[in-house]
């Protein structure tokens, strides 16, 4: 990667186009990993490949602050509200992939909410 110069950052932001139709974001701070977040991540990684869900991006993130329901993850699909699931075990993970990711049906199980809107996005809006 070439070193960036003045103005390159803005171009970088402008020129980005996501090729994905959604994302699964798994909370993986020390707390999330301790609660089993990394095995859930691996499960999603292998199962999503197998199910051919490659238009959905799988992502790690830091601690959402909801330590009472780790491991937790957010499913963001185009045209649907963002849904956060808490206490995700293997069974729930499979259910999320089969129902939510494949059929766009929210799983009526362990759904929780992000504690606030995405404020960071608003602060740094162009």
């Amino acid at each position: 990667m070439n070193k960036m110069k003045k103005g390159d950052l803005a171009d970088f932001r402008r020129n980005h186009k996501s090729s994905h139709k959604g994302e699964v974001v798994i909370s993986m701070g020390t707390c999330g990993i301790a609660a089993g977040g990394d095995s859930i991540y691996k499960l999603f990684e292998s199962e999503m490949k197998e199910k051919g869900l490659d238009n959905i991006q799988l992502k790690k993130t830091g601690c959402l602050g909801m330590c009472f329901c780790e491991p937790n993850l957010v499913v963001k699909l185009d045209g649907m509200p963002d849904i956060l699931y808490g206490n995700v075990d293997e069974k729930t993970a499979i259910l999320i992939m089969n129902e939510h990711l494949t059929k766009k049906r929210i799983v009526n199980f362990n759904t929780i909410f992000m504690p606030t809107d995405d404020i960071g996005k608003k602060i740094f809006r162009d």
């Binding site: 070193k3 932001r13 509200p81 929210i106």
Partner: protein, 588 residues
């Protein structure tokens, strides 16, 4: 109309799902199954003692309704209207800024990216507006202007003491000399606190960006992040973040093509609590033993390698980029009095939803504990909350409605500290809690100055004597005397604040100390030497549950006949007391 998603949260999951069941039935009766969906939610972003409904995609929240109002609410949902009298919107008395989420009492500035982006991917940080503030600072602002913005924003050190950040920068800038240093204090050690770790693990670039801006404003070429080795994941992610920032030309020589050079190095600490104190921290970076030294000279005059140095906490650094981006007046409109902005708290202890939260300064403890963290576990009675870690104090129930800011907390004998909030309920014994914190402070005392080394030990011994049932009323005065000596004469904040929890407990829970001393009783059963467990023969049905639970097998008896506890073998764990369904076990 879009599909409607109704999320229902009801306070106690074991009780009937009256609201959920009603709404599901309504949907089925009307055959609206493909338009309206109803879900059970386990946490809805806010908590209450009554059910809450949240409807997406419009994000409407209804609360404080009765069961019979549900019909009206349902009609409104299915026809796209709103029922205004049950709508929940928090008025913006604390943070009247447009970015505020009107559905939440939280406001995330420091944690703005944590949970949204991949911390190991610099591209995502840049796409979310990362390094925009740095670019603005380097190319559009003079160093004096940056310092002025930070000073006027009212940002104060988030590590505990609350010194004005902008002033610290200014003092360092004004010092003569070419060589100056920036330090990020990531040596977080309070029991129950993990704010800094979460920021470093979830959004390392926000700290790096803040430090670059600080380095540019003060005129430094080099910065250090002092982080404890107990945070391996944070170290790993920071290393990755630093490497990718260098690769992109955002760190190192000629940042973004300008003539400003700045680089950051990581230094690992071995996990000594006292190394969070700035002079000890700098000694540790230099490779010396982590002992504090007297101030003055302050680090801004003579810090790292005797050069002017300014040192800020992780959370303070994460606040810098938003201040530069949005301006000082934006930041200072959040908060109350002399405390501006937000504060991250790690809420732990006996609450239903422990976790990491960020609220505007001036939020009350009641809002934090009951509206965000769900209230006390098992609906028990609130007793106290410890703020500020081992150097803070306990806050009793009567102050729950006081606003959380630097001055208010200090006025009631506690302190802001770094942000640990440990909630205690009626089952916690204050004397026992004091003993725990003292043990921690005594272990962590570096031993350099005698008030802290000897005073702490004496305090601990006196309190241990009280919890063992050998206390004397004279001990209370002794505790007060030693405490005063420690506060006045200790070299650094560790020794000066060690007595704080004890003093505040003596102020607000003196009767508990007296109970321990004169009646030799611990009503909560936490001080084991003062507790006896026995079985009331009339109530015991001989089910044997307690005998099964007992870890040392000291309960014996025939089936269906009253059992007996062998007092000599009993370790007073209280398992039998908790497991007996017939209240046949007496604690005295």
């Amino acid at each position: 109309m879009d599909n409607q998603y109704i999320f229902v949260w009801e306070p106690d999951p074991s009780k009937s799902k009256a609201v959920y069941n009603y709404l599901v039935k309504k949907v089925n009766d009307r055959n609206l199954g493909d338009k309206v969906e109803v879900f059970k939610s386990t946490y809805i972003g806010l908590t209450s003692s009554r059910p809450i409904i949240r409807i997406l995609p419009n994000d409407t929240i209804y609360k404080d309704f009765e069961q019979e109002d549900l019909g009206e609410i349902f009609e409104a949902i299915s026809s796209g209207r709103k029922v205004n009298r049950f709508l929940c919107e928090f008025e913006s008395k604390i943070a009247p800024v447009p970015e505020k989420d009107s559905h939440s009492k939280q406001f995330k500035i420091v944690l703005r990216n944590v949970g949204y982006l991949d911390p190991e991917n610099i591209d995502e940080y840049i796409r979310r507006g990362g390094y925009k503030a740095m670019e603005k600072a380097i190319f559009q602002m003079k160093p004096e202007e940056i310092i002025k913005e930070v000073k006027e924003s009212g940002l104060r050190g988030r590590g505990g003491a609350g010194f004005s950040t902008g002033l610290k920068w200014e003092l360092t800038r004004e010092e003569p000399g070419e060589e100056k240093y920036v330090i990020c204090n990531a040596d977080e050690g309070d029991p129950g606190a993990y704010m800094d770790r979460s920021v470093l693990e979830g959004d390392p670039h926000s700290v790096i960006e803040g430090m670059i801006i600080g380095g540019f404003a003060v005129g430094c070429k080099e910065g250090f992040i002092y982080i404890r080795a107990e945070y391996p994941l944070a170290i790993e992610r920071l290393e990755k973040a630093l490497a990718s920032a260098r690769e992109y030309g955002l760190l190192g020589k000629n940042i973004l093509g300008s003539d400003f050079n700045f680089d950051i190095e990581l230094r690992w600490g071995a996990g000594a609590f006292v190394c969070g104190e700035e002079t000890a921290l700098m000694a540790s970076i230099e490779g010396r033993r982590g002992n504090p030294t007297p101030r003055p000279p302050f680090p801004s005059q003579s810090g790292l390698w005797k050069k002017p140095t300014f040192i800020n906490n992780v959370e303070t650094w994460a606040n810098i980029a938003p201040i530069i981006e949005k301006g000082s007046s934006w930041f200072s409109s959040i908060g109350v009095g002399k405390s501006k902005g937000t504060k991250v708290f790690a809420v732990t202890g006996k609450v239903k939803n422990p976790g990491l939260i960020e609220v505007p300064m001036g939020t009350t403890l009641r809002e934090i504990i009951y509206d965000i963290s769900g209230g006390i576990l098992g609906d028990k009675k609130f007793k106290a909350v410890q703020t500020g870690g081992p150097g803070g104090g306990v806050i009793p129930e009567k102050f729950l409605d006081m606003s959380v800011d630097y001055e208010t907390l200090q006025s009631i004998g506690s302190m802001m500290g770094s942000g640990g909030l440990i909630v205690m309920d009626e089952d916690d014994c204050m004397v026992d809690v004091n003993k725990f914190y003292l043990q921690f402070s005594v272990d962590e005392s570096c031993g350099k100055c005698s008030p802290c080394r000897i005073g702490g030990k004496q305090l601990l011994d006196t309190i241990s004597k009280i919890t063992a049932g050998n206390g004397d009323m004279k001990d209370v005065q002794k505790i007060r005397n030693i405490s005063m000596a420690m506060q006045k004469a200790s070299l650094c904040a560790l020794g000066q604040t060690t007595p704080n929890p004890v003093l505040s407990a003596l102020q607000y829970f003196e009767n508990e100390y007296i109970e321990h001393i004169t009646h030799k009783k611990c009503l909560t059963g936490k001080c084991r030497d003062l507790v006896q467990y026995s079985i009331i023969p009339e109530k015991c049905i001989g089910c044997g549950v307690c005998a099964m639970k007992c870890p040392v097998k000291c309960i014996s008896g025939e089936k269906k006949k009253p059992h007996l506890i062998d007092g000599n073998k009993c370790v007073k764990c209280g398992e039998c007391f908790a497991s007996c369904k017939f209240s046949a076990i007496k604690r005295s």
